[in-house]
């Protein structure tokens, strides 16, 4: 089971658990309606679309309203600390929540108390908290963009707003160097999915894949296009794909959905997500076959 945890842009939403369904531009969960904009709503929607296509159970979602004050985030942390071993998910995605180092450490400790520690994915501020708390290595997968990769590569920074200027100004040609630094400082999860004009997948300190096609520059401007990748990766791992294959498929699906949605800087994320079923119907089998042959080639070499 895939468990997705994050906040929603509503002050009045209590901690809400259930299956979420995307209808047009609105995500419905437990009787609540949440706009499908940038953030956890986009992540949940993309994960739901992926699992629906694979005929797998919908993701279990833990959402709480938080306008940034952190009150909802703290409820979410406390719930996870108290209940993760009982929920016993296969995969957990931690997403938009106020980064609180001490609480994130306790969430990770709680995950370890489950019969089998879940596959732990962190994106957005959950990733900031894990790195700042010094527990990045306990996570299985992070999904930073280039500025967040610079943050992971800076051993002192506790938030991307305080990254060293020389690291922040790195262009994409320095991604291998930043990836190496993030692993060397113990600030990377086992797998990194670095989102950018060329997406990079790294595992155990080594870049194993670069993907740049189809090239849709407008995707960078659309709020939520990183969240959709994290959601799809979580869904694909929970469906049984290994981390690198899941990342490769998610990246390709995201780019192709941007193409099918004819993305412009004004496109909304729900319009990109709406294109996912067609993307999977037309390409998933081929991508899975290619992943199998790539694995075989690796084994042979």
């Amino acid at each position: 089971m895939l468990l997705i945890c994050g906040t929603a842009p509503r002050k009045d939403l209590p901690l809400t658990e259930g299956e979420a369904i995307l209808q047009g531009d609105t995500l419905r969960i437990g009787g609540a309606e949440i706009p499908c904009t940038q953030g956890t709503a986009a992540l949940v929607s993309a994960a739901g679309a992926t699992l629906a296509f694979l005929r797998q159970p919908a993701p279990r979602t833990l959402l709480v309203g938080d306008d940034g004050s952190g009150k909802g985030s703290r409820l979410l942390y406390e719930h996870l600390i108290g209940n993760l071993p009982r929920i016993a998910p296969q995969v957990v995605v931690l997403h938009y929540m106020l980064p609180v180092m001490g609480l994130m450490r306790k969430v990770s400790e709680s995950a370890s108390k489950a019969k089998k520690r879940p596959f732990m994915i962190a994106d957005a501020a959950a990733m900031y908290a894990a790195k700042a708390a010094g527990i990045a290595r306990k996570f299985d997968l992070f999904t930073p963009d280039l500025s967040e990769l610079a943050f992971l590569a800076d051993p002192q920074a506790t938030h991307p707003a305080y990254v060293s200027r020389h690291l922040f100004e790195s262009d994409s040609s320095r991604i291998p160097e930043l990836v190496a630094a993030a692993y060397a400082h113990g600030s990377a999860a086992r797998t990194l999915v670095v989102k950018g004009s060329t997406d990079h997948i790294a595992q155990d300190g080594r870049i194993v894949e670069r993907l740049a096609e189809p090239n849709i520059p407008a995707l960078e401007a659309i709020g939520g296009t990183g969240d959709t990748i994290s959601g799809m990766v979580g869904a694909l791992v929970s469906a049984g794909f290994d981390a690198v294959t899941a990342a490769r498929i998610a990246i390709r699906a995201n780019r192709t959905a941007g193409l099918y949605a004819a993305a412009t800087p004004a496109t909304r994320i729900w319009q990109v997500i709406e294109a996912l079923p067609r993307v999977f119907a037309e390409h998933l089998d081929e991508w899975v076959r290619q992943a199998g042959s790539t694995k075989d080639e690796r084994k042979a070499s």
Partner: protein
């Protein structure tokens, strides 16, 4: 250990509010506690010490909320600094021209607006919970009528979004250049 805790309750925030006087620090503690903002009184390390020997440790991410709260209660402070690493917030702003739209990136935040109307088309990046909230509040509004991130946001991500917003407003007023 970075600095001695006066009251170690396990809180670890990474940010330090420096005060001129002990009275100021105590007032700050009371003001933040009243608003539910986690903090603790600490002795600042020598390399960061300015003013008095007492400081407040806060969650650095909440710097904008703390500044606003202390300001509204007339609690004077010297500065808010990270307890480790560089003390300067990122100042770098990068601009991408999409033809009819411009994307301004500040730190980990990006704001995209229509060159002619100034309407906010998209906000991307960031990870703190006020960003989806600000996204919903600012989207589809002209820059000069959209709420300012610094006034509504609580976190460092909102501070970076505010930088992008200020730069976007300036670019738009200069005809999108």
């Amino acid at each position: 250990m970075f600095f001695k805790s006066e009251k170690n309750n396990g809180f670890e925030g990474g940010g330090l509010v420096l005060f001129e006087s002990v009275e100021g620090a105590l007032s700050g503690e009371r003001a933040l506690k009243a608003e539910g903002i986690e903090n603790r009184l600490v002795a600042p390390p020598p390399e960061l010490r300015r003013g008095c020997d007492l400081a407040l440790e806060i969650n650095l991410v909440e710097k904008p909320a703390v500044e606003r709260m202390l300001g509204s209660r007339q609690v004077h402070f010297i500065d808010i600094l990270p307890t480790r690493g560089g003390t300067e917030l990122l100042q770098v702003v990068q601009v991408t021209d999409f033809g009819e739209a411009v994307m301004v990136k500040a730190g980990n935040m990006k704001l995209t607006f229509d060159k002619v109307s100034g309407v906010v088309l998209n906000i991307s990046g960031g990870g703190c919970p006020d960003i989806p909230y600000l996204h919903a509040e600012m989207l589809a509004k002209p820059l000069d009528r959209a709420p300012r991130p610094r006034e509504m946001g609580h976190t460092l991500c909102s501070l970076m979004l505010d930088r992008a917003y200020v730069q976007s407003l300036e670019i738009w007023k200069n005809g999108g250049r």
